[in-house]
């Protein structure tokens, strides 16, 4: 029997005096208080065992509780046995520190938490009076909780109280609303207070309210639609390029918002080219695309971009970000080989399941087989566990390493059983050593090694987080079994986390955010669509290009960013396109294309693009400024695409950019030297920098500047180029 279930197999107080208004009371004699069922919820509800207080690893003021009460025995001992007996005084229960401190009768760093009139105070008192029973005589186990109502549709500012009911193994139910912790994932849309009262905000949208009671979680979905109902035919008439559109329109209909119109051709060209291939369109592409009159030109563009080598470099660059090892840790040659393996996989359009299987089961030497470098970089089963589960199935196990995740179902058993898959990795050669770990290391199927549970000391047997994995065959690499489970067509999380990521890359926002944090308490904004997209991805044989193709071909992807009268506040339901700043590498390559002066990078051949850099150790002030992460950072982190003042200053004043714009080998000089008319120069600049044709007024401005008295043609063109590069239209994807 596991420790966890043992913990819950504890007698349940049928009549928990203070907590169960639904139960009948024997007034004269309070029921025996049960530590797990009656006391622990109080410590959790009043924050006693929370991270900032006694729940942190070093406790507070010498008094330590398990985080959120996941370890009843530890907490019982801490209260009833430790602290030299000062925490509980059966002789004078009111003087117990356990009672006097939270009641504010004795100085308490955490301040007063309990009223002496409160039922919780009475429960604590009864428990001490009863001699601190570890368990009540006939206890039941908490089985589940439900929140009622499970979903809500509210008008702006409307409120609704939630009720939380706990169900026990003996069939008893009790209202535990008072002792439940509530949290909203989108407080501006629907906030919740500590008593479970939901208050709708002023923003149209939806939110999830999480209710947590003693390790059990229930979620209430709240939707705040716009008050004006939009006729169904409006939605019926919307275009449906593929299944994506239908599922987005369904959601919008429930919210009473309508999508923005479809975007212009030039906006689509720049959007698709930056998203799919990580570059801005060239002058020739702009002119050709805008001149093309065929009805399917957008689809053809998507197909063409997916064939390009730039596509592979762009997506490899994103994945290298997430998998990237510290070069000082693994050695520079291993870093190079790893990047090459990732990059080549994207050039080969390798199916995603194959990529992940090859990575997880990699064998070979770091000087020959780039795919093994993850196992050089991450040497402990625990480290591999958190990385692999987060990246490939969107499950964050970091917390479960030490304690039960407060908002999750995973515990230490799950964590270390998963880690056990990585327990028999053989390594030979020079490990991590000073100064730069320069030598080769081999990774192979080992025969020894185990993972033990840090608390029980038990040797763990490999077990997946849920479902069934192929059994580990004697002599076979345990990682094969894990890889088969992770990449199985039946593992919906594997398909969904990648679908969510790619969707976020193209639509600027995932159904789930953060993109690799899939859990019941962090629900997707469009669950049916995430599910359908995951299935489509799976059915395509985990083809990333097909995934991108279907998303980019949807009408939803092609919406304008400008809001209509219904959808300005929508930032999660894709009723319009959400703008974002171009990624550092994309922006720098765009700058090079515009100025006509290529970048020079260390450790790269001439004319390399920023996307092709295989290590962030190759210096670039520009890339650092625009959010390329520190090469030495661990763990790797999702990049932020925020603007900063340092970025504005760099575009404005960088010596390098100033010189490139004014370069004798650059675009501005060659335009100035050409015989081109003002009109032609205007057309070329706008196409190169903004990817569109200039308006009549814009051309008039260029003409006026070039014709002004004393105007120096080259200077005017340089100034125009500077002004355009410093404009939002260049820096952002619209």
């Amino acid at each position: 029997m596991s420790r966890r279930s043992a913990r819950f197999l504890i007698a349940f107080a049928l009549l928990a005096f203070s907590l169960s208004p639904a139960c009948k009371l024997r007034a004269e004699e309070p029921a025996i208080v049960d530590f797990e069922n009656d006391l622990q919820p109080i410590f959790t509800r009043f924050g006693c065992n929370s991270g900032p207080c006694h729940g942190k690893a070093r406790g507070q003021g010498g008094f330590q509780l398990s985080l959120l009460g996941f370890d009843g025995q530890q907490d019982y001992d801490a209260i009833a046995k430790e602290g030299r007996g000062r925490r509980v005084f059966p002789g004078a229960p009111e003087n117990s520190l356990l009672i006097a401190k939270p009641a504010g009768k004795t100085p308490h760093g955490g301040g007063k938490r309990l009223d002496v009139d409160s039922p919780e105070y009475q429960t604590l008192l009864n428990w001490v009076r009863q001699g601190m029973p570890r368990k009540a005589p006939s206890a039941a186990t908490l089985q589940s909780i439900t929140v009622s109502p499970p979903s809500l549709i509210l008008a702006a500012s409307q409120t609704q109280a939630l009720t939380v009911t706990a169900k026990y193994s003996d069939g008893a139910e009790r209202d535990v609303t008072r002792l439940t912790a509530f949290q909203s994932n989108e407080a501006p849309i629907a906030a919740v207070n500590e008593n479970g009262l939901v208050t709708a905000g002023q923003i149209t949208g939806d939110a999830a309210i999480m209710a947590r009671f003693m390790g059990q979680i229930a979620v209430c979905d709240v939707m705040i639609p716009r008050p004006e109902v939009i006729p169904a035919e409006v939605y019926a008439q919307l275009p449906r390029n593929n299944f994506i559109d239908e599922l987005v329109w369904q959601k919008l209909q429930r919210l009473n918002i309508t999508p923005s119109p479809v975007c212009d051709d030039h906006t689509f060209l720049r959007r698709a080219t930056t998203d799919i291939s990580g570059r801005i369109p060239t002058l020739e592409e702009v002119n050709a695309f805008l001149a093309d009159t065929s009805a399917d030109k957008r689809s053809k563009l998507i197909d063409r971009l997916l064939e390009e080598p730039e596509f592979a470099d762009h997506w490899a660059n994103k994945w290298a970000d997430l998998l990237r090892p510290n070069p000082y840790h693994v050695g520079i040659k291993a870093t190079f080989n790893y990047d090459h393996w990732i990059r080549q996989s994207f050039h080969d359009r390798k199916p995603w399941d194959q990529f992940v299987r090859e990575l997880l089961t990699a064998r070979g030497g770091t000087f020959r087989d780039g795919s093994v470098v993850m196992f050089r970089d991450r040497r402990q089963p625990e480290e591999l566990t958190t990385l692999v589960s987060q990246l490939f199935i969107g499950v964050r196990l970091d917390c479960a390493k030490c304690h039960h995740h407060p908002f999750e179902v995973w515990g230490q058993d799950d964590f270390y059983s998963f880690a056990a898959y990585f327990s028999k990795i053989g390594r030979k050669g020079t490990g991590i050593s000073a100064p730069i770990s320069g030598s080769e290391e081999f990774v192979f199927t080992g025969t020894s090694g185990s993972v033990t549970h840090p608390v029980t000391g038990a040797t763990m047997t490999p077990r997946p987080l849920f479902g069934e994995a192929p059994p580990v065959v004697e002599g076979q690499d345990q990682r094969e079994s894990l890889a088969a489970w992770i990449t199985s067509p039946n593992n919906h999380l594997f398909a969904q986390v990648m679908s969510n990521r790619v969707w976020a890359d193209l639509l600027a926002r995932g159904f789930v955010e953060p993109v690799d944090d899939l859990r019941a308490t962090n629900p997707p904004t469009n669950g049916p669509l995430l599910k359908a997209l995951g299935e489509h991805f799976r059915d395509s044989g985990f083809s990333i290009t097909e995934l991108i193709r279907v998303v980019a071909n949807s009408h939803v992807y092609q919406l304008s960013s400008l809001p209509n009268e219904t959808n300005a506040a929508d930032t999660r339901n894709y009723s319009r396109h959400y703008r974002h700043r171009l990624r550092a590498e994309v922006l720098l390559d765009a700058v090079s294309l515009v100025t006509g002066v290529p970048q020079e990078f260390d450790a790269m051949p001439p004319d390399s693009s920023a996307k092709q850099l295989w290590t962030h150790r190759s210096d670039s002030l520009f890339l650092d400024t625009f959010g390329r992460p520190d090469p030495n950072q661990d763990p790797p982190c999702e990049r932020m695409s925020d603007s900063t003042v340092v970025q504005s200053l760099h575009l404005m004043n960088s010596e390098k950019l100033y010189r490139d714009i004014g370069s004798d080998n650059g675009t501005a000089k060659s335009l100035a030297d050409s015989e081109k008319s003002a009109e032609e120069i205007s057309a070329e600049l706008y196409a190169r920098v903004f990817g569109r044709k200039p308006t009549v007024e814009e051309t008039a401005l260029v003409t006026e500047l070039l014709a002004a008295e004393g105007a120096v043609r080259r200077q005017v063109i340089e100034d125009l180029m500077w002004a355009m590069v410093n404009s939002a239209e260049f820096v952002f994807q619209d």
Binding site: R58, I203, Y328, H329, R379, Q380, E383, T386, Q390, R396, C399, I432, S433, A434, P435, A504, A508, R509, P514, D517, P563, A569, T571, Y578, H580, R581, L621, D624, F626, G627, D630, N632, D634, P635, C637, E638, M640, S641, D642, S643, V645, S648, L649, M652, N653, S654, E655, Y658, E698, L701, Q715, W722, A723, M724, N726, S727, A728, E729, V731, F732
Partner: protein, 447 residues
């Protein structure tokens, strides 16, 4: 990706609510003051210091030849330098620390910090972040598992007024990065040498050949050309609005003569420049003071080359007099200008050095190797009581023995002085809460 939940748990929308607006209009320095004060209104204990200058002695400076000589130890421990008196009776310094010895009453010396990370990569990380590296790292490693002091201070005291809030000169220190706080709090690296006649701080001033007039016509032009429609409804969260705000802030910085003066070291008198020492280090100290005056909350002066495995005496004989002068002058100058109370100055490296002088194979001169059991740290300003010497090492300098302190204590002291709660909770990329410093106890003698 623009509205993704950030690693530290904030959304961009939060940041906008916290930071922007209200800056433009008032005078530059006035607005800096207003913001600095409002920053300290919350529950954080008010720190005296508003800025910190960190002199990072990369490589691990010897404690023997600087602030903790052992004149009574045998020759192979004591080394070639003698000991001199300081202004505090009974406290001696090594012979080249002349000016700092004379001015010990203006600052404090900690002699008893020790830790267990004896290689550069790990030691750098521990002292620069207050957190030991999570996994063993190699000696040459540049690692980051936790935000550096500079990045944390930039986030907590940064003023969103156009000025980068964390400078590092001439390079970033090994573990000086933001980690999960994000690139916004990465150091603004100024690589150029302020001792050079052509020096200017990159990006905050116009490119060298660009005239003010042409810059003016460029920005006029930009206002006509940048016609992307802004989505004014705040609920729409248009990221272009923040971009505009930052452009405007940058523009104000570049065109404000007052702000530009802050970066122009050539405005210092020749006497002052001479006083700090006409070398790169001295001029970086001087520039740091100017940046402090402009309101920059954190400046790292990276000072490499303290890894004296060989020729320790020869090289320190050349180096220490100028170093001593520059650091003593910085403290003195801040004091004269009334800035020492609001400016924390800290000088240290990743560890101390071995008590016994060794000669490496292939070397003919003696040196000292890595030693994390003892190190000396200088701390001035921000209310640090002058003349305080905290802790002591044993007779031969092997180990801190009296008032033994940890890197956590040191980093907590820095945060405390800057009004940042070292017990504050940050959120890792996994959403896991972690304390800014695991042991948030500051060094009480210095508070």
């Amino acid at each position: 990706m623009s509205n993704r939940k950030r690693c530290d748990g904030f959304t961009r929308r939060d940041t906008l609510q916290l930071g922007l607006g209200g800056f433009l209009g008032a005078g530059f320095v006035e607005s800096l003051k207003a913001r600095a004060e409002s920053q300290h209104g919350g529950s954080v204990p008010a720190g005296k210091a508003k800025s910190c200058i960190l002199i990072w002695m990369d490589g691990g400076p010897t404690h023997f030849e600087t602030f903790d000589p052992k004149p009574d130890a045998p020759m192979e421990f004591r080394g070639e330098f003698s000991s001199i008196e300081t202004s505090v009776p009974g406290v001696g310094y090594s012979e080249h620390m002349v000016k700092l010895a004379a001015s010990l009453n203006d600052y404090a010396m900690i002699r008893s910090i020790r830790h267990d990370q004896g290689n550069h990569g790990a030691g750098n990380h521990y002292m620069m972040t207050g957190s030991p590296p999570r996994i063993p790292v190699g000696c040459g490693a540049f690692v980051s598992f936790h935000p550096s002091m500079g990045s944390v201070v930039a986030r907590e005291l940064g003023r969103d007024n156009g000025l980068p809030s964390y400078f590092s000169m001439p390079q970033m220190s090994r573990s000086g990065g933001p980690n999960f706080l994000g690139a916004k709090y990465a150091p603004f690296v100024v690589g150029d040498d302020p001792n050079n006649a052509q020096f200017k701080v990159r990006d905050v001033a116009l490119p060298r050949d660009l005239t003010d007039m042409r810059f003016g016509s460029r920005t006029d032009l930009r206002s006509k050309i940048d016609r992307m429609v802004r989505i004014s409804d705040e609920a729409a969260g248009d990221p272009v609005l923040a971009f505009d705000e930052y452009f405007q802030q940058g523009h104000t910085l570049v065109t404000s003569p007052e702000a530009q003066k802050a970066f122009d070291i050539s405005l210092e008198s020749p006497e002052t420049r001479e006083r700090y020492g006409r070398d790169s280090f001295g001029q970086r100290c001087l520039l740091s003071r100017r940046l402090v005056e402009a309101g920059v909350p954190f400046i790292t002066v990276y000072d490499g080359g303290w890894d004296h495995h060989s020729d320790i005496f020869g090289s320190l004989r050349k180096r220490l007099p100028a170093w001593d002068n520059s650091v003593a002058t910085l403290i003195q100058d801040l004091k004269e200008r009334g800035l020492l109370d609001s400016t924390l100055v800290v000088a240290l490296g990743e560890f101390g050095r071995t008590p016994k002088i060794s000669t490496l194979a292939g070397s003919t001169t003696g040196g000292r190797d890595h030693w994390a059991n003892a190190m000396s740290v200088l701390m001035a300003g921000g209310g640090t009581p002058g003349g305080t010497v905290v802790g002591a090492t044993d007779r031969k300098g092997f180990s801190a023995v009296d008032r033994v302190l940890s890197p956590e204590n040191f980093v907590s002291t820095v945060y405390h002085k800057l009004g940042i709660d070292p017990n504050k909770i940050l959120y890792s990329p996994q959403g896991r809460p972690s304390h800014l410093v695991s042991d948030p106890t500051p060094i009480t003698e210095l508070i």
